[in-house]
């Protein structure tokens, strides 16, 4: 039987990889994907806890996470498209229009 801590370690490693992706990559699509990795890592720990506590709340939460992720991806990709129209690049370092 695999103990809970192993699931959590896998989850942490995945989350770490996601963080690294967000911080190190300049390609905005890849950054987005890294965010998905982090969300998935969290889902894994939620469901792992569920299994070991015999309840379904975590699964409901990961269901919500999926819904949010879907919303986020659709809006985020739409933003990328509209930014791309203005300036044909997806290099994050060239976007700093949020600066006032």
């Amino acid at each position: 039987m695999v103990p809970l801590s192993h699931y959590l370690i896998v989850s942490a490693i995945l989350f770490f990889i996601g963080v690294l992706g967000v911080l190190l990559r300049r390609n905005v699509i890849v950054v987005f994907m890294s965010i998905e990795i982090m969300l998935n890592a969290v889902n894994l720990s939620l469901i792992g806890f569920d299994r070991f506590l015999n309840q379904h709340d975590g699964q409901v939460f990961s269901f919500m996470v999926m819904a949010v992720a879907a919303a986020e991806v659709s809006v985020g990709l739409a933003i990328i498209i509209s930014i791309f129209r203005k300036k044909p690049t997806i290099n994050l370092d060239e976007f700093n229009i949020m600066k006032w």
Partner: protein, 654 residues
């Protein structure tokens, strides 16, 4: 009948609201109708209440109507309640009655003014505040009325706000009144501190038990109350605002600065008669301030050339008589003089208004003279009122003034009486000087000015007031016991239980280790000797006639005489300049205060306070400029901050 009480102040309030908010829309005619209608309705209601009050047995003539709980905070509870008793009844009748006539007169007088509605809105508001002042059943409600009338007085003195002198006069009146108001407020606080309540009935009932006769507390409370009264009623030392207040329209001077508001101080003293009776030191001060003011204002009145200023000083002087009456314990006489003064002084002011109106706003009596033929009705009413104020038998002023003088002699002392009788002589003199200079003799009117008598709407109120000034004395016929209607009427309000006062004060003083000698208070005051009374009457009529004859000699017979008498006399110059009181106040009080305020403004406010506030803002601005560098616009940098935060958080938690 009595349950209608709340309507009395409500009518003018409604009138004020209508005129104030929709005055321009409803047109001049309707403004006048609303204003006069509301006050007349109020007067009718007052008369109905009077019948209700007469219907009650004399010792139960007090009716309290609670409208709502106004302020409730812990032990402190104040109700918005009206109290109708013989004293407030008298005041209500005077206010609404004289007020109605003056409102009607105003329709004619103010006809050509542009902001007609503003005038009537303020005038109605004044009526409301004045009625609150006299009808309130506690000191705080009286204070509201007190401030309300001061506020309306300010508005109306400054009615011609495009004139600098009017604005200055309004400001002066307001500020001088503030001094008195502050003292009044202090007195109310003291009363609450000592008695734990500010309701009239409860305070006055508790006074004999909680105050010591001639004790410090009684003197402090009454002293502050009296200082408040001197502010509102223009007595020494706070009288200087009233002559300047003549910048307002003349009916305002008649209503506010002669008949009603300035007598509020007298009302206050009479209302608190039991407190004052327990503080003989204050009473002495009241008497001397009253007598001194009566004399001082009369001397200044002799030297003024502005028709309204003469009347203003006359008002100050007459109110001085009322305080003289209060000071010697003759509260009935004070109220009596208040009533008759309201009649004849309102008539005089309105008469002067009629003259000013007919002379196209000329107020200098040196440019009048011989106006008798142009203003027959005004002249006649003016003459009647002048005779009344001079104290000629059997007009009203004779009875009321004589009663005050009599009491100042038998209950006071010879000095007080001397001041009073000298003042009476001067009053007769300067009032007839005014009449002679205005209506008799050679005409000195500018050729461009064509005097004309005022319309009926102005002369009719004059006639009614002149009639009242003539017969008003019937309220208090002396000598014949039981005919002094006013005395009998006010008896329940002025009743003082000397037995309780003496017992309690003696006990409390002995507890403090003092020896009390209060038994003399119990001796019944003897009714004045009829012979003395008659002698005094003849004397005062003689004095009045002397004054009149003097004025006749000076201003009709030998018109050059006054100039030769006064020319080059330093004494005359000082009196003419009003004893330099304004200048002295200016130098000693106004200028230091102004300079101090300027210092506070330039140094404390502009530099210290503004500097602190702006400095804080600048520091925050600098900090923000530093913090701005974190906002690079790169999302990654924000994420980096988040990560750093998380890392620190985790390190701290685990």
């Amino acid at each position: 009948m009595l349950s209608l009480t709340w309507l009395v102040p409500t009518f003018p309030l409604i009138g004020s609201i209508i005129n104030g908010f929709w005055g321009l829309k409803i047109g001049k005619d309707n403004v006048g109708k609303v204003a006069c209608g509301s006050v007349i309705l109020s007067f009718i209601t007052t008369v109905l209440i009077l019948f209700g009050l007469i219907g009650l047995p004399a010792e139960n003539r007090i009716y309290e109507q609670v409208m709502f709980d106004w302020i409730v905070a812990g032990d402190f509870a104040v109700q918005w309640a009206y109290q109708v008793d013989p004293l407030s009844m008298v005041m209500m009748l005077v206010i609404t009655g004289v007020g109605s006539l003056i409102h009607i007169f105003s329709i004619g007088y103010m006809k050509e003014e542009y902001s007609y509605y503003r005038y009537f809105a303020y005038l109605n508001l004044f009526m409301f505040a004045m009625l609150i002042l006299v009808m309130g059943s506690n000191f705080l409600l009286m204070f509201i009325g007190w401030e309300g009338v001061g506020c309306c007085s300010y508005f109306l003195i400054g009615y011609y706000f495009d004139k600098q002198s009017a604005c200055d006069a309004a400001t002066k009146a307001f500020i001088v009144n503030r001094v008195g108001d502050f003292a009044f407020l202090l007195a109310v606080m003291f009363i609450f501190y000592i008695f734990g309540t500010i309701d009239y009935t409860e305070v006055f009932a508790a006074a004999p038990h909680k105050l010591i006769y001639d004790g410090e507390i009684a003197i402090i409370i009454t002293g502050f109350l009296f200082l408040g009264a001197t502010g509102k009623s223009a007595q020494i030392p706070l009288y200087t605002w009233l002559p300047d207040a003549m910048e307002g329209p003349t009916p305002v001077s008649a209503l506010i600065h002669a008949a009603t508001m300035v007598t509020a101080g007298v009302y206050l003293v009479v209302r608190c008669n039991i407190l004052f009776m327990m503080a003989p030191m204050t009473m002495m001060a009241v008497a001397f301030v009253g007598g001194g003011t009566a004399l001082l204002a009369a001397t200044i009145g002799m030297t003024q050339w502005d028709i309204k200023r003469v009347l203003a000083y006359s008002t100050v002087s007459q109110i001085g008589y009322m305080f003289l009456g209060c000071g010697v314990g003759a509260f009935t006489a004070a109220i009596f003089h208040l009533i008759t003064h309201a009649f004849f002084k309102a008539c005089l002011f309105l008469g002067s208004g009629s003259v000013i109106h007919g002379m196209h706003h000329e107020q200098d009596i040196r440019k009048m003279g011989g106006l008798k033929k142009h203003f027959p009705k005004t002249y006649f009413t003016f003459l009647v009122s002048t005779l009344a104020i001079a104290g000629i038998f059997p007009l009203s002023g004779f009875f009321s003034k004589d009663e005050i003088l009599l009491h100042s002699l038998i209950d006071g002392n010879i000095f007080l009486w001397g001041m009073g009788i000298t003042g009476a002589l001067l009053t007769a003199f300067y009032m007839f000087r005014l009449v002679f200079l205005t209506f008799h003799g050679e005409s000195r009117v500018d050729p461009d000015v064509h005097p004309h008598e005022s319309p009926d709407i102005m002369t009719r109120p004059l006639m009614i007031l002149a009639t009242l000034a003539a017969v008003g004395g019937m309220l208090g016929i002396p000598l014949i016991h039981g005919w002094h209607v006013l005395h009998n009427w006010l008896e329940p309000v002025l009743f003082i239980d000397w037995q309780t006062i003496v017992t309690n004060s003696t006990r409390m003083m002995e507890e403090h280790g003092h020896v009390a000698h209060l038994s003399h208070l119990l001796h019944h005051k003897e009714h004045p000797d009829a012979g003395l009374e008659v002698a005094l009457m003849f004397l005062s009529v003689g004095v009045a006639i002397t004054g009149i004859v003097g004025a006749y000699l000076c201003y009709i017979k030998y018109p050059k005489l006054p100039e030769t008498l006064t020319d080059g006399q330093w004494g005359y110059e000082i009196v003419k300049n009003k004893y330099m009181v304004d200048e002295i106040y200016d130098e000693t009080i106004v200028k230091p205060v102004v300079q101090g305020s300027r210092l506070l403004w330039k140094e404390a406010d502009a530099k210290a306070i503004d500097g602190t506030v702006n400095g804080v803002a600048q520091i925050i601005g600098w900090c923000s400029k530093q913090a701005k560098q974190f906002q690079s616009g790169y999302v990654r940098n924000y994420a980096l901050s988040m990560i750093i935060g998380f890392a620190i958080l985790l390190l701290v938690v685990f």
